[in-house]
């Protein structure tokens, strides 16, 4: 299956997020690798996704799961070789699967040679590749992001006897984007991978590239200028490639990252995700519709990226204090489930393994405006292990079968990079790919179906949205329209059956065709269209004039 040549391919994508380390170990060393991932591409093709997003696989001391990069143009030896990566890339492309890789622009590991040089003396030519200060008093307007571990954005370097700037962990010094040499070098890094054939970058932590006194050092115009320059180079030299922004910001602050179609192609919609969970627990669409009402229009070629869970904690930075307290109480009753300003749990365990709620959340993920991202293992309902530190509880080995090491690795269990999930509900004997492939009604099979339905039409990836606001606030209903095609989505956020009347008068004469079973529903007339819905049920209808 050749790659789709459409330059807007990302609008129709279903992205699967995976860490090479976690997926499949081909050489029995207990760590997933490129060859292992390549062997599992058939599985991903079977699932129906058409893009994979690989978390950092670069050489790294792995103090932040690879987001602390020590060499941008090589791969971590645990995962294989550069040649292995090339083969993975080619194999994915042969299956019509695009490959998105991480690019951590903001900072390096403190083990990166650049930083080692920079700290070696104040006169080193690379000294200004990082941000130094003799005092901690600079940039006091910048918040501390990792509140649980860091007390300052400055860290003392005993070698050069000065402070260096870091927005994340202290072992991740920020690069200095006021340096032309840094900007040039980071473009060289990106070009290296683009020339190899990667289809897109997920650019990590982009709001923080530039610091300015008297600001919060986020979303600064200078940062946008740097990003625009990168986009110009990508478009000029590698047309059809895509840039995805990781900017955990409010919608209004996110909008500039799209620019005039000259900055990012895509950006994560961070504020939406916690509100989907909130709406579900409240049984009220208000949090969801309100944040989408506040979401500005984006240029035609741009796209939101939606997700339910990812490798990080379920971030609660973009909610109010009251909402955060509510989310903690509802979804993280144990303090050990909380990390920084978030909740470190997987989708299935957040939803108490309730299949109906898992389906409803995926239904919204697939039908709200944007490109959906599925976090590895969530398609089979994998659980988490909160006894593991940091965010490692949601980064455990993929559960392929109920056999040795869950089919992930032939290594001795103690050599695995992380312990397997073994509890009775989410453990690999109960939750694994093999058994779910065997069952027609498994979550995996259901995910296959919904992905296929989503991909059967362009309306969800590219269509406009219009909310219907029925008087029953437990019902989230919207129309998606693209050209002559119209889809109606109705979600019951409630744990109980609901009746809802929808004002569809302007579609009088249309019949509704339920998109999963292709069954016909009554014709729309002058009266409000009455639907009754079971607990957590959702409908996708195609409107068709007959």
């Amino acid at each position: 299956m050749p790659l789709n040549k459409d330059a807007l391919w990302y609008k129709d994508a279903i992205i699967y997020q995976v860490h090479v380390r976690t997926f499949y170990d081909s050489n029995g060393d207990g760590i997933g690798d490129f060859q292992g991932l390549e062997q599992k591409l058939d599985y991903l093709q079977e699932l129906g996704i058409n893009a994979i997003w690989l978390m950092p696989f670069f050489p790294s001391p792995l103090r932040d799961d690879g987001y602390d990069i020590a060499d941008y143009t090589a791969v971590h030896s645990s995962y294989g070789t550069l040649e292995d990566f090339r083969k993975l890339l080619d194999s994915a492309h042969e299956r019509g699967i695009r490959v998105i890789i991480e690019m951590v622009l903001n900072h390096t590991s403190d083990q990166h040679p650049w930083f080692q040089e920079a700290r070696s003396s104040r006169d080193n030519p690379r000294r200004d590749w990082y941000v130094w200060s003799d005092t901690e008093a600079r940039y006091q307007g910048a918040r501390i992001i990792f509140l649980d571990t860091e007390t300052s954005n400055w860290a003392w370097d005993p070698i050069s006897k000065s402070y260096y700037w870091h927005r994340f962990f202290s072992h991740q010094p920020d690069l200095n984007y006021d340096s032309p040499a840094v900007r040039e070098q980071m473009w060289n890094v990106m070009r290296f991978w683009l020339e190899m054939g990667v289809d897109a970058f997920r650019l990590d932590a982009v709001p923080y590239l530039v610091e300015r006194e008297g600001t919060n050092c986020e979303n600064l115009p200078e940062t946008h200028n740097i990003l625009k320059e990168l986009r110009r180079k990508v478009d000029g030299q590698f047309p059809g490639r895509m840039l995805l922004a990781e900017a955990n910001q409010w919608p209004a602050d996110l909008r500039p990252y799209f620019g005039d179609e000259d900055e990012f192609h895509m950006a994560f919609h961070f504020p939406l995700m916690p509100r989907m969970f909130m709406g579900l627990k409240l049984e009220d669409r208000k949090p969801i519709t309100e944040i989408l009402q506040q979401t500005p229009e984006i240029p035609p070629s741009c796209q939101w990226s939606l997700f339910l869970r990812n490798h990080d904690e379920l971030t609660l930075e973009m909610v109010t204090d009251m909402e955060r307290d509510y989310m903690y109480d509802m979804y993280a009753e144990s303090k050990t489930m909380r990390l920084n300003l978030g909740i470190r749990r997987r989708l299935a365990s957040l939803l108490n393994n309730d299949r109906r709620r898992i389906e409803l959340m995926n239904g919204m993920l697939m039908s709200l405006p944007g490109t959906p991202i599925i976090y590895y293992g969530d398609e089979i309902g994998m659980g988490d292990n909160i006894s593991l530190g940091d965010r490692n509880g949601v980064r455990t080995p993929m559960q392929w079968s109920g056999g040795w090491n869950s089919g992930f690795s032939l290594a001795e269990p103690e050599r695995l990079y992380a312990p397997l999930i073994q509890d009775p509900v989410y453990g690999y004997p109960a939750v694994n790919v093999l058994s779910q492939r065997e069952s027609e009604h498994s979550l995996f099979r259901w995910m296959q179906r919904i992905i296929a339905v989503r991909r059967s039409t362009g309306v969800f990836g590219r269509g406009a949205i219009e909310f219907l606001y029925p008087a029953n606030h437990r019902i989230l209903a919207y129309l998606r329209r693209l050209g002559k095609e119209t889809a109606l989505v109705v979600n019951n956020l409630s744990n109980s059956a609901q009746a809802v009347e929808l004002d569809l008068r302007r579609y009088k004469g249309n019949i509704l065709i339920e998109m999963f079973g292709n069954n016909i529903f009554p014709r729309v007339g002058d009266l409000p269209y009455l639907l009754t819905m079971g607990p957590y049920q959702f409908y996708w209808f195609r409107l068709r004039r007959v």
Partner: protein, 441 residues
Amino acid sequence: MTETMSQGTTSRGRAAVIRTELKLEDEAFLTDDFLRQLINVGEVDILVGLPTHNNAKTIGSIVHTIRSGILQAFPRERVVIIDADGGSRDGTPELVTGISIDDVRPASNLYALRTLHSISTKYASSPASGVALRTILAAAELLRAKACIVMSPESANIESEWLSKLLRPIYRDGFDLVTPTYRRHKFEGLLMTNLLYPMIRALYGVRIREAYTPEFGFSSRLGSQFLGQNNWNDGTGGAGVELRFTLAAITGGYRICQSFLGEKDRVERHAADLVPALRQTVGTLFSALEPDFPVWSAVAGSQPVPTVGSEQEVLLEPMRINRKRLREMFSTGVAELESVFQSILSPSTLTELQRIARPGEEFHYSAELWVRTAYEFAASYQKSVISRDHIIQALAPLFRGRAFTFLMENRNGSANDVENSIESLCLEFERLKPYLLEMWK
């Protein structure tokens, strides 16, 4: 803490059966449009009921205060405000529904975690508190509200904390009925302090200061029980239904507490207001005594009910009251209604009343005489010696006489003096309860 009631268990079992039979009838009086609104609201945790009729002058600020109180104290709960309107023509329902918060109507300067519904229905009959309460109770049952309150549409001095004070004991602490206590002037609410409170306390054994009040909170089980068992078609239009509700809670063995709300706005009363007030309160109480006889006849003494905050606070500033007119109306009434009183009162009581009514006599309507009067009225009401409404009307001049004495006795009294005076009266009602029982037989 008073937990004296226990006889409600079996009656509640019967109530469930009765509820099933009455359900269709109960819900049939709700309009289709209102039912549609209730469907859209769905299950709620808290229901705030507002019985309104042409309250546009006050209702706006009241519903805004209610909304603030809800958002402050119950931001996570599912709440609905329901206006049961008796046909307002001044835009009252629109003022109530206008405070809804949802994704189409966000509230400025207020943050709501979830949708707050505020809906309204107009019932078919003329304005009546009984129909309004019945509508609210039916809605509460359909929406499975865990805790409910009824708020007065005229409480101009309502504070947002009232919501929490009335709801929290039900929602968090498992009480079934919360009645308010207020900070009042020592001469406000004389009918309550000189008759209703002491008589209910003596007969039913429960010390509820404000058994008849436009603001109260209740649980779903109490609301459902009352909805099913109350006779809604007794021809009274629901007058005094709030008092019947309280008495139903007592006789049903429900958990009752009081909550101190603060200052109650002072309402100007006119002489002509007394008889309607007596009908609603004393008439309701007297009517209830007959069916409730098995309960109150078995009660001796009285017990306090748990109270959140002060039980009662008293304001002492000077207040202008036409005491002379009270005495005149008493004396005139005793003279003009002699034949009526002969049917109602015992000869000794009537003689004593006539004695103190005479000009020149030092006027003192003693507690003992007042209690005997009240009990003889209650017994005559039970026996229907004359028209029951005439009996209630005949009580008006005598109550004025008692009020005159209370005012004179406490003219310079401190808060403690006033409270002691009320307590003495209560004890007199309790002491003479056998007298009523004797007459009842």
